[in-house]
């Protein structure tokens, strides 16, 4: 058993930058690289791609991310753990093998499966959000359970270089290597909690190095253009030291870590993952040196008895149109355009939202008191059952050019098919995780 391992996080969401992971893998002296690329909605969209083509359904950027990383991972003997398998880890694993062969590299890939529980869903399960049966929301397109470390550990026990999962809880991607290397017991909830704290701090990559933090007035961060992604040195007792590669931009401080520790945490005393109900309230963060912090404390008590399942459903079509006004009476002309749009569309589209970007599109209107922008942009958006109706919103906004207030410019229109996501719970014994191995 080892005393210390180093895990880096090179992506914190599906659209994250590619370069920081390359730098981490090349210069970070990592034992493990984690790429967290799967949000709630991402997997539902991936499921739709898989329906159209059974060879797809893995992360759309998988080829782009993995191609550049492969030679570095092989050279530095760094294992990769990533949820880029999305809706189809098996097809993703085959694609990675294909990419490795093209580069003449020898790799083994383990696909972690079992999170896809759609086939035995009845639709009568009750949603957590509104306590309604899930099939009352719309046509269901996907159901994926958030698996924990139990699904990843068999893959780590194999000789796979790359572990490709579908839906697993984000911190579990980090906790599993700790358990594997340190021989922690999965019912040692104190350790599970500490490892989950570290995983949670790392899982959004740049969000602990100054991304989503920087404010040039109150929270300045240097060299944002070359923002580095973090790594953590974890010791077998569960304490960690978080840092980043020398020469990269950004900053790791007590402040960046506090913001990230609490990010998306509903209850800091009870943070639920499939592995543990973790307590974040006792975490201690201390700055050791520039861009290096020590994380101690944190813990956990038990683990949830059920798995959370993310269910995707077809929610209709969202149509949007935008047009801008500037200069004298810009706000008044924008307000007139908004009134015209409301009168032209309200009888056809029930669920319509009209904002003036620059005034009230992000925050409640009353917070914008006394502000008088030079430019405003009208935004009209609505949810519709049909594509043609959704398109009509953008068409009406565009027509404001010649049928609306003076000086409207820069009209844009677009439509998206919307996949909604709701959650339900599933008994643990109904889910059967497994792995499949592939080699070059």
């Amino acid at each position: 058993m080892r005393e210390k391992i180093r895990i880096g996080c090179g992506a914190g969401f599906s659209g994250d930058r590619i370069e920081p992971a390359l730098i981490l893998t090349e210069k970070g002296n990592l034992d493990y690289l984690v790429l967290e690329c799967l949000a709630e909605r991402t997997i539902a969209l991936a499921q739709k791609r898989k329906l159209q083509n059974p060879d797809l359904g893995y992360d759309v950027l998988l080829e782009k991310r993995i191609s550049g990383l492969l030679p570095l991972l092989v050279k530095n003997k760094t294992r990769l753990v990533t949820n880029m398998g999305a809706a189809n880890p098996i097809a993703g694993a085959k694609k990675i093998i294909e990419l490795a062969k093209e580069q003449g590299l020898d790799v083994k890939v383990a696909a972690v499966i079992g999170d896809d529980v759609f086939s035995f869903f009845t639709g009568k399960e009750i949603s957590i959000e509104n306590e309604r049966p899930i099939d009352s929301y719309g046509k269901l397109v996907s159901a994926n359970a958030y698996l924990g470390v139990e699904a990843i550990l068999p893959a780590l026990a194999s000789d796979a270089d790359i572990i490709l999962t579908g839906r697993v809880a984000d911190p579990s991607l980090f906790l599993a290597p700790m358990i594997h290397e340190f021989g922690w017991e999965v019912d040692d909830f104190e350790k599970m909690g500490k490892g989950t704290v570290l995983g949670h701090l790392l899982e959004c990559a740049g969000q602990i190095t100054g991304g989503y933090f920087a404010d040039p007035i109150s929270k300045p961060i240097p060299d944002m253009d070359i923002l580095g992604h973090p790594f953590v040195d974890i010791f077998s007792d569960g304490q960690g030291f978080i840092s980043k590669v020398e020469g990269t931009g950004g900053a790791i401080t007590v402040q960046t870590a506090k913001e990230q520790l609490l990010y998306e945490v509903l209850d800091p005393f009870h943070y639920y993952t499939p592995d543990v109900i973790a307590d974040f309230s006792t975490v201690k963060i201390e700055e050791i040196s520039k861009n290096q912090i020590q994380i101690k404390g944190g813990g956990g008590s038990s683990k949830p008895e059920t798995y959370k399942v993310s269910v995707g459903y077809e929610a209709g079509f969202r149509g949007t149109g935008e047009i801008s006004y500037a200069g004298a009476h810009a706000v008044e002309r924008g307000e007139l355009a908004a009134e015209i749009m409301s009168l032209r569309l309200k009888d056809k589209i029930e669920n319509l939202k009209i904002d003036l970007i620059g005034m009230n599109s992000l925050h409640p209107a009353e917070l914008a008191q006394n502000s008088q922008p030079y430019e405003v942009r009208l935004r009209v958006t609505g949810m519709c059952d049909s594509l043609p109706l959704a398109q009509e919103i953008g068409e009406e906004v565009e027509a404001l050019y010649t049928n609306g207030p003076a000086g409207g410019g820069g009209a844009r229109k677009y439509v998206e098919q919307v996949v909604g996501v709701i959650s339900t719970l599933l008994e643990r014994d109904q889910v059967k995780p497994g792995i499949q191995l592939f080699s070059t």
């Binding site: 109150s218 006792t282 319509l352």
Partner: protein, 100 residues
């Protein structure tokens, strides 16, 4: 009167239709004062046109931080919301507009 933005920083997170806002003083010695002045009730009042549900406050003395968990706050949540900022990522700065 001061705006919270002068004293503290915040990060917004989302889980479905639930908005989570942290509040962290720049100077840890301001923590007690923030605990006294920024309550679940005052945050609910400040964000009443954003947060349709309840506000629960978690006080974290070890971290010198607070967390506000706001239900029914994101127009349905990221997937089906009609808001420009469907995640509510900009709403940390809505909290920081609060005056104390």
């Amino acid at each position: 009167m001061k705006k919270l933005a002068e004293i503290a920083h915040s990060r917004a997170g989302d889980k479905g239709n639930i908005l989570v806002l942290s509040l962290i003083p720049f100077d840890p010695s301001d923590f007690e004062m923030l605990v006294n002045k920024v309550t679940a009730e005052s945050v609910k009042e400040h964000l009443k046109n954003q947060v349709k549900g309840t506000v629960t406050r978690y006080v974290l003395p070890d971290l010198k931080a607070m967390q506000f968990t706001c239900t029914d706050a994101l127009a349905g949540g990221v997937t089906t919301s009609l808001s420009l900022d469907a995640h509510g990522k900009s709403l940390s700065y809505a909290l920081l507009e609060m005056e104390i």
